[in-house]
């Protein structure tokens, strides 16, 4: 494979989640993290999953990633059943999960080294391309602990993009960052999504973040984890998190969210 092929903008993937159920047994009883959840994610769609903590949105992401298996139901990636992790679906975690024994370049190279058909010189070139894309080409030899929180997540993004996956799964990747850094990354992720067309499933508990990034926002409710509502966000990109139009969407979503969380509160009281 040549470097051009390694960097080619491959077609994003279609994901079908079909009747997925998953429960966990803890010492306080059984929690139904996902209850017969079905979703279709189109090729190249930016889908956001929103909900209070414990509503199963991260579990769903892990199942799509192949890190968890559902109790019943199945996940199809481009028509093929997901049985484990695959290079077509890369994950970005809330904790950056970068390896401290490698420098920045080494971390981005980790997944590339496992990708066949490239020699090391080409792998390095690919890694450098993505480090440049996230604006960190000057830091390729830095140690991980020397980077700020935002920079670490940029490296994690470059690492996830480097093997050229068709799907990017993001599990609250910006939750631990400060507001200013987060705003910068909203811009970056939209720009990168334009440049490297991927199907993105993005988990967050931040409604505004979801409205800013998603083509579509799915609202989850906890125990049993179900999809409660669906919102289409028809705003031009790049979107500004502080815009008034965006606020309208996020207010609408927040109202719906409050609607069922309050209702659940009264149900519990009865």
């Amino acid at each position: 494979m040549s470097i051009e092929n390694a960097l080619i903008n491959i077609a994003p993937e279609r994901i079908e989640i079909d009747g997925v159920t998953k429960s966990f047994t803890t010492n306080r009883g059984t929690i139904v993290a996902l209850d017969n959840v079905s979703v279709k994610v189109a090729e190249g769609e930016f889908l956001c999953l929103v909900g209070p903590s414990g509503c199963g949105k991260s579990t769903l992401l892990n199942i799509i990633a192949g890190l968890d298996t559902p109790d019943s139901g199945r996940v199809l990636a481009n028509g093929e059943s997901v049985t484990g992790p695959g290079r077509d679906r890369m994950v970005m975690f809330q904790e950056h999960a970068l390896f401290p024994w490698l420098d920045v370049l080494g971390n981005v190279m980790f997944g590339l080294r496992l990708k066949p058909g490239l020699n090391n010189k080409e792998r390095k070139e690919v890694a450098k391309y993505y480090l440049d894309l996230v604006g960190l080409s000057k830091f390729q030899h830095a140690n991980i602990h020397e980077l700020s929180g935002g920079m670490k997540q940029r490296v994690a993004l470059a690492r996830a993009l480097a093997p050229n996956p068709r799907v990017l799964l993001m599990d609250e990747p910006f939750a631990a960052l400060d507001a200013l850094t987060r705003e910068q990354l909203y811009g970056d992720i939209q720009r990168i999504w334009e440049a490297r067309r991927k199907t993105i499933v993005f988990v967050t508990h931040n409604v505004r973040e979801a409205a800013c990034l998603g083509d579509r926002v799915l609202l989850f409710s906890p125990n049993p984890g179900r999809i409660r509502a669906e919102f289409q966000v028809d705003l031009p990109r790049p979107r500004d998190i502080n815009s008034v139009e965006l606020a309208r969407y996020s207010t609408e979503i927040t109202t719906a969210l409050k609607g069922f969380t309050n209702k659940q509160g009264t149900e519990a009281a009865e």
């Binding site: 990633a65 992790p85 890369m90 490698l102 140690n143 602990h145 690492r159």
Partner: protein
Amino acid sequence: MIRSLSSIVFFLTLLLAWEFVARSGHYSPVLLPSPLNVLEYIWQATCDGTLWVATLVTMKRLMLGYGLGLLFGIPLGLITARFRLLQDTLGLLALGVQTLPSVCWVPLALLWFGQTEAAMLFVVVMGTLWSVIIATNDGVRAMPPIYLRAARTMGSKGLHTWFKVILPASLPYLVGGMKQGWAFAWRSLMAAEIFVTILTGFGLGQLLQYGRELLAMDQVVAVMAIIVVIGLLADRLLFSPWERFFHRRWGTGSMK
């Protein structure tokens, strides 16, 4: 510069105080040799080769026993950490046996192997192995599970995960374990050399023991000093560079 100066001043003061007490005449020179006597012995024994030979014999035994301890201890520690069954069996055994002071292995070794090199090797390996298993095991278990999940999503599995994720992630602990293993190996070897008298080699421990039998306290103290110096050198040359490297990479440790 200032730091090495303070070390030098400290040790010079210690030596001077020792010389002073020795010269005061309160204690018999047979029991408390002066630093000068000790230095004289070291000089003499270095010139006639006694010290060189003894140090060489001891180091050879140490390296062999320590090497075997690491060779088996590290892989065993890695697998006890990853498989629950081994954790509950071998891991528990290691945890128990490592509390046994290494000198306790000597009677057993003498009865099994007699006054032989094998007895000595057995004691050193027993003294090293278990603590290396425990340190490696602890290191692997301290690894954040997110590393494994991240590695899996990038297509790492099997041996690749072992060599490229689990092993490097636990390296800082491994070096700690190797350091501890080294200290344990030293202790066991000295115990072995003092108790096991054999003709195949005359090590530092035996030199120490003969010093006692001949009432040559200058020899006893000199050998003790040499053991200390070797220990310090090993720490500075073998382990410190690694630890410094890990502190720089991982960003751990505030001590310079």
